[in-house]
């Protein structure tokens, strides 16, 4: 059984359709890449899955439960975390306060502390910057904070929306290697990226989204060597 199963999902902004019958599956332990051009509907897909925007049709199942109509704030405690596009850290709070908010649904202080320790192991830089206001961090550090904050809820699956966007190449490499580490630590990952090459390199399987429709899917390695993908998304 898939951990996350999206079936025929449609979403409109007013009368304009953004998703038109999107279906995909994420199995436990996988890294799934969702790639596509700017405006294809990747962010809309993630927003709808985590309940930030309503769907017009279709079904979203998580761990066998229908979560199509579950609002965003109830999704987190079910085991799904979302690192939004543009990071959305709380700028006027410290790194530490941001991380604690990530564990808002974790009521046990002991558990919270042990997750925090793990997160600091993934992101030693966050520990160094613990007392700094999130708004004063560099873009790469904010991305790390957004990822660390999502991990603080101890999710089964973590949805990441363009984590490498706007980062210098050094940070991009670091972020991708952290995603792999997070995956090895047992988290399932749904990764949305415009950096298709990087995403396909670390992913198990991938889906290609074009103007609100899945046009291709398969093993990430196969897509990485597919001619049409190479032309359209890898700039070859």
């Amino acid at each position: 059984m898939a951990l996350l199963k999206v079936t025929e999902l449609s979403v409109n902004y007013g009368v304009i359709p953004a998703l038109r019958g999107v279906s995909f599956e994420v199995n436990e332990g996988e890294i799934i890449a969702l790639i596509g051009a700017n405006g294809a509907g990747k962010t809309t897909t993630l927003h709808t899955v985590t309940g930030l925007i309503p769907s017009a049709a279709g079904r979203i199942e998580f761990m066998g439960k229908d979560i199509t109509k579950v609002p965003a704030h109830k999704i987190v405690s079910m085991g799904m975390a979302h690192v939004p596009e543009g990071r959305h850290v709380f700028p006027d709070m410290t790194v530490y306060q941001n991380l604690l908010l990530g564990a808002y649904t974790v009521k046990e202080a002991g558990k919270r502390d042990s997750i925090l320790k793990e997160v600091y192991e993934h992101f030693p830089r966050l520990k160094e910057r613990e007392r700094q206001l999130a708004g004063t961090l560099s873009g790469g550090e904010q991305q790390m904070l957004a990822m660390g904050r999502a991990l603080m809820s101890d999710p089964r699956i973590i949805l990441m929306d363009e984590p490498s966007m706007g980062l210098s190449p050094i940070y991009v490499n670091e972020i991708f290697s952290i995603i792999e580490k997070v995956s090895k630590a047992g988290k399932t990952v749904l990764l949305v990226e415009q950096n298709a090459r990087k995403a396909l390199t670390i992913a198990d399987r991938a889906y290609v989204l074009e103007t609100g429709k899945i046009t291709m899917e398969g093993a990430a390695d196969d897509l990485l060597h597919d001619d049409s993908i190479r032309k359209a998304y890898l700039g070859e």
């Binding site: 985590t50 965003a72 939004p84 908010l101 808002y104 649904t105």
Partner: protein, 293 residues
């Protein structure tokens, strides 16, 4: 000199009441991103609740104060749920603003219907007599107003910074979408904000009518507007800003009443606001508003 200091103390007293009201305004603005123009009328409802319990029914003062707080808290929750929540995602900030003005009229006219439009004499809830400290005469209400506001603000700061719901409020104020991704219910947090702001308005209403005992359905209107000015003055959205703005406004009002002109004191208050906004458009403690991308 003695009269100046006495005026200053009176200004701080009035200012601390403005501060309590302004904090409600500023919290609702910071978290719900709306101007609740009915906030001033909640003060009036609180005062009427206390008046009814204490003067009409003859029950003990603490019961009256408690009733005012409970009544306003419930009223704040009801206003938010019934009037504002349905409009929250409707897009138009103007619709919310017009609704707020509508709620304000509704409360004023409702009070007029129940209590009539004549002015009632509110009997002070403060049992303290006027204190003479050296050459100064300080009314009991003055001391109680200042103390109450200091205590309320301190408790509120601790609540916001040290508790889970407080952190949820801060998170919603900074980024609603991100807050809901943390598992925070934005709707519940906004309701809580209205509840706290309205409870404080009840306290302000009781204090205000203890200092200035004339109570009528429009009693809350002017203090409401002034508290709004105080909140803008301090930087809307900032709790310390509202506190400082409220205190300054009270002092300016009382001093201009004493030394310039009784009739012009309100005009002077608004003139000061205009000057502050010209020099520092975000208010004393305000931050540059970040546009969301």
């Amino acid at each position: 000199m003695v009269s100046f200091i006495t005026n200053l103390i009176n200004g701080l007293s009035l200012g601390s009441i403005y501060a309590i009201i302004a904090i409600g305004y500023t919290m609702v603005y910071g978290i719900a991103k709306m101007l609740n123009f009915a906030h001033g009328d909640v003060i009036m409802v609180g005062a009427f609740a206390a008046y009814t319990i204490i003067s009409t029914m003859g029950l003990p003062t603490p019961v009256g104060i408690l009733a005012a707080i409970v009544c306003c808290t419930l009223l704040g929750i009801a206003i938010e749920k019934i009037a504002y929540r349905p409009l929250r995602n409707a897009g138009s900030p103007l619709a919310v603003l017009i609704t707020a003005i509508g709620v304000s009229y509704f409360l004023q006219n409702g009070a007029m219907l129940i209590f009539g439009s004549d002015t009632k004499m509110f009997s002070s809830v403060v049992p303290l007599q006027t204190l003479s400290v050296g050459p100064f005469l300080i009314p009991g209400t003055t001391i109680v107003s200042i103390l109450t506001s200091v205590i309320l603000v301190s408790v509120l700061q601790i609540f916001i910074n040290k508790t889970r719901p407080g952190q949820a409020m801060l998170a919603c104020a900074q980024d609603r979408a991100a807050a809901s991704l943390m598992g925070i219910s934005v709707n519940n947090t906004i309701t809580l904000t209205f509840a706290i702001g309205s409870a404080m308005a009840a306290v302000a209403g009781v204090l205000l009518c203890s200092a200035y005992p004339a109570l009528s359905p429009t009693t809350g209107a002017m203090p409401g507007i002034k508290a709004f000015v105080a909140a803008v003055f301090g930087g809307i959205g900032s709790v310390p800003g509202a506190m400082v703005g409220g205190l300054l406004l009270g002092v300016i009002e009382i001093l201009s009443r004493a030394y310039i002109s009784t009739q012009l004191s309100d005009a002077i208050v608004f003139a000061v606001l205009i000057v502050v906004l010209l020099v520092k458009p975000t208010g004393l403690f305000g931050k540059v508003i970040q546009e969301k991308v």
